[in-house]
C-alpha cells in the first residue's frame, strides 16, 4: 500500500469512527463493545466517558479539518520522523497520521501552526525543486528536513526558523502519537498498567545503581506475604499482624 492509499483508509476510518460513536453511545454493557486494542479504538464508551464527553467525541470525529492532501504530507513526514526499526513498525504502521487528524480537531490551537507549517514546507520545496514536498524524491525531502530538524544556535539559516518551529510540532505530535500507541508502548518497554504486587526495585537493577535500600527503612515497609492478613494494632499504634 502506498502512502496515498493508506491515507484514504485513514479517512474512511475517521468517518467510520463517528458512526461507531453514535451507535455505541446508547449501549449499556461495555463488554458488548469490541475492545480490539487497536491503536485508535473508536468505541468511546469503552474508556469511561460521561454523556457530554461522548457527545464531544462524536462531534470531533465527525468534523473535518485537515484535508486529504495535507494528511498525505503528514503521512510522509511521520515516516521520516519515525521509520520502522528492526523491532518495531513505523509511525504510519502505528496510525500516527490518524491520531494527528483527530488531535488537531480536538485541540484547535494546533490547527493554524499545522496548516500554515505544511504550506511553508511546500513553499520551500517549490523554491528549491519546483514541486511540492510529497512529489520530491527521498533525497530532496531529506535535504529540506535536515535544514529544519536541528536547532540553529548561531543563526546560520534564519530563513529556516519557521520551518524548524513546524518540524518541532510535527516531531512532538508524531512521538506522542507513536509512543501512546500499543506498538509504541511495547517499543518503549513500559511495563505496567496491570494488577501486581509491587515489592521494590528489582535486585539486579539496584545492583547497577549507586543507591541501595537502607535496612532500617525497609524494616518499616510492607511485608507482601501478610498483605491479606487483616491489620491489627497495639495501643501504641504498632502493627501486630
Amino acid at each position: 500500500m502506498n502512502r496515498r492509499e493508506s491515507f484514504k483508509t485513514l479517512l474512511v476510518g475517521a468517518v467510520a469512527g463517528a458512526t461507531i460513536g453514535t451507535t455505541t453511545a446508547c449501549k449499556t454493557d461495555p463488554k458488548e463493545t469490541t475492545a480490539d486494542n487497536s491503536t485508535n479504538n473508536q468505541s468511546q464508551e469503552y474508556y469511561g466517558r460521561t454523556p457530554s464527553e461522548l457527545e464531544h467525541d462524536v462531534k470531533v470525529y465527525a468534523a473535518e479539518f485537515l484535508n486529504e492532501y495535507e494528511l498525505g504530507t503528514i503521512a510522509v513526514l511521520c515516516d521520516i520522523i519515525l521509520p520502522a526499526s528492526s523491532t518495531a513498525g513505523s509511525a504510519n504502521d502505528a496510525k500516527v497520521p490518524e491520531f494527528i487528524e483527530f488531535i488537531v480537531k480536538d485541540m484547535p490551537n494546533h490547527q493554524l501552526p499545522m496548516r500554515g507549517g505544511l504550506m511553508w514546507l511546500d513553499g520551500e520545496s517549490n523554491r528549491r525543486f519546483n514541486k511540492v514536498f510529497t512529489a520530491c524524491t527521498d533525497a530532496e525531502q531529506i535535504q529540506i528536513v535536515d535544514d529544519i530538524a536541528y536547532p540553529d544556535p548561531d543563526n546560520e539559516k534564519p530563513e529556516m526558523a519557521h520551518g524548524r518551529t513546524f518540524f518541532n510540532l510535527m516531531r512532538n505530535l508524531t512521538l506522542t502519537g507513536y509512543y501512546t500507541s500499543k506498538m509504541g508502548i511495547k517499543d518503549l518497554g513500559y511495563d505496567g498498567n496491570y494488577p501486581n504486587v509491587w515489592d521494590g526495585v528489582p535486585a539486579e537493577v539496584l545492583a547497577e545503581h549507586e543507591v541501595d535500600y537502607d535496612p532500617e527503612w525497609i524494616a518499616k515497609c510492607v511485608d507482601q506475604e501478610t498483605r491479606n492478613v487483616t491489620a491489627e494494632w497495639d495501643d501504641d499504634g504498632n502493627l501486630i499482624t
Partner: protein, 572 residues
Amino acid sequence: MQIKESAKEYDAIIVGSGAGGGMATKILADAGLKIALVEAGPFFDPKDPKTQTQLKWSYESPRRGAGTTRAFGEFDMSWGDWKVPGEPYTTKEGTDFYWWRSRMLGGRTNHWGRISLRFGPDDFQHKSVDGLGENWPITYDEVKPYYDRLDKLIGVFGSKERLKNQPDGYFLPPPKPRLHELYYIKGAKKAGVTAIPSRMSILTKKINEDRGVCFYCGQCNRSCQAYADFSSGSCLIFPAQKNGGQIDMYLNCMVRTVTTNAEGKATGVSYINKEDRKEYQLKGKVVVLGASACSTARILLNSKSKQHPNGLGNSSDHVGRYLHDSTGGGRGAFVPQLMDRKTYNEDGVGGMHVYSPWWLDNKKLDFPRGYHIEIGGGFGMPTYGFGWDVSAMNEFIGGQVGGYGDKLREDTKRFYGAFIHLAGRGEAIARYDNRCEIDPNTVDQFGIPVLRFDYKWSDYERLPAKHMQQTFEEIFDAMGATVLGKTPGKEQDYGLLAPGQIIHEVGTTRMGNNAKTSVTNKYSQLHDADNVFVVDAGVFTSQADKNCTWTIMALSMRTSEYIIDQLKKQNI
C-alpha cells in the same frame, strides 16, 4: 414556578458527598438517623465499568489521555474541574483564583492525591508560636482520638517517626521506595532535608471484608475499582447503606439555600433538580453542610432571610473571609544516573512512596510557616505529551539536539524515566481580606448568584516559595541531577502558583469561641443557628503545611457525634 415541598422530615440533611459529607453520612446513618444526602452531581461508583478509567490504556482514547475534557487528563476521575459548564465564578479585578469542583457522588475524593497527614499540636495553636492568624478553639489532643479512629476506619499507610509536629498514627506499612525516590532520599540527606515514607490512604494491607488491597497500578487518581484507596462513596457512603442506613440520595440536586423559620432556625434546604430544572424543598431537623469550603459559604451567603439579613451564619460578616489555599511551587530535574535503564514495572501506589515533612525551625527563617515536599518521577504510562521535546535533553549530555529517525527513537528510550519532579506545598496565612463573596451581577444557569473571589498572596507566601526553589536546587545538586528551567524570580512570585491551584481551599466559615470573629463554634455549629453544622474545610481556622482531607474527616466525625449527642439531649 411553584416550589415543591416534601412532606417527609429528615433527622439530618447532608449537603455534599465528599470527605466531610461522606463521613457525616456514615456516622449519622450508622446511628440510625434518617438522612437526606444532597449531591450536585450524578451517581458514581468506582466499580462501575461504564465510567471506569482505571487500567485503561492511552490508546483506548483517540486523544491519548489529553486534558481536552478533563483538566488533569481525560482518565482523571473528576467530573468537573476549574470550570463547570453553566456554573461560573468570577474574580475581583486584579486578583486571581482557581476553583476546582467535582460534580459527582464522592466529589473530589474520587481523584484526590490520597496524601493523609494529621495536623500537629502547633498547627492548631500556631498564633501562640508566631503571633500570626488565629488559634483554633480546639487542640491536637482533642482531635487525636478521631484521627486514631479514622486511621483504623479508612486505612492509611505510613511509618512511626516521632517527629515534632508530625503526629504518627495507626499506620499500615508503606511500600518500598522506587529508584528515583532512593536518589531523592540520598540527595535530601546530603542537603539536610528529612525524608520519610509517605502517608497515604491506600490499603497496602487488608483492613476489612468490604475493601480490596492495593494492586499497584499507580492510578488512584482514576478511583479504585477494588476500593483500595479512599473515596467517599466506596469507603463511607456505600458501607453506610450496606449497614442498613436510612439514606435517601438526592443526586444532580443543587442546593440553593438553607431555609429558616421565624426563630431563625434551619428548617431544611431548597434545591434545584438539575434534571427538570425545578426547585424543591426538603425538611430536616438538622442541616449539615459539606459542600466544600467555598460552596458552603455560597449557600450560607445566599440564604438571606428576615432573621438572617446578611446571609445565614453571617451576623459577624465572616462567611467567605479568611479563605486560604496551600501555597505551591514545583521544579523538575534530569537525573543522568537514571538514563538508559532497563525498564520494569514501577507503577507502585498512586503517587509518591517517599516525602519530606517540614524539617526546619521558622524562628531562623524569614517566613513564618512551613511546607512539605512531594516527589514524582519514574516509568509512567505514556499519555498525550509524552516525548515532547525529548531530544532537547541531549543538551545536558553533550548529544545532538533535534533530529529524526532511529536517533530520535533512541533518544526517547534513553531519557525515559530519567526525570524527577518536586512539589512544595506550604501554609498560607489566613487573612480577613482574602475572601469569596456573592457576585452582585452574576447568576449560574439555575439562577443562583455565584461567588466572586478576591484573593492576594503576601510575602508570608512568596518568601517560602523562594525557599522552596532554593531547597529543590540543593537537593537536585546533591543527588547529581540537572535542574530544568530557570529559577523563578521575584517578578514570577518565585514560582508560587495562583491561589486555589493547590485545591486546598479552607477557612470560609472558620471556627472560634468569639461569635463576632468566627462563623462556627468549636463543634462546627453555626453561632447564629444551632441546628446548622459545617463539615467541610470551611471551619479550618488555619491550614497547616499539610493536606486538609484527613482533618476534614476527623472533624466531621467529631461534629457528627456531637449532633447525635445534641439530638439525644434534645438541645437542637
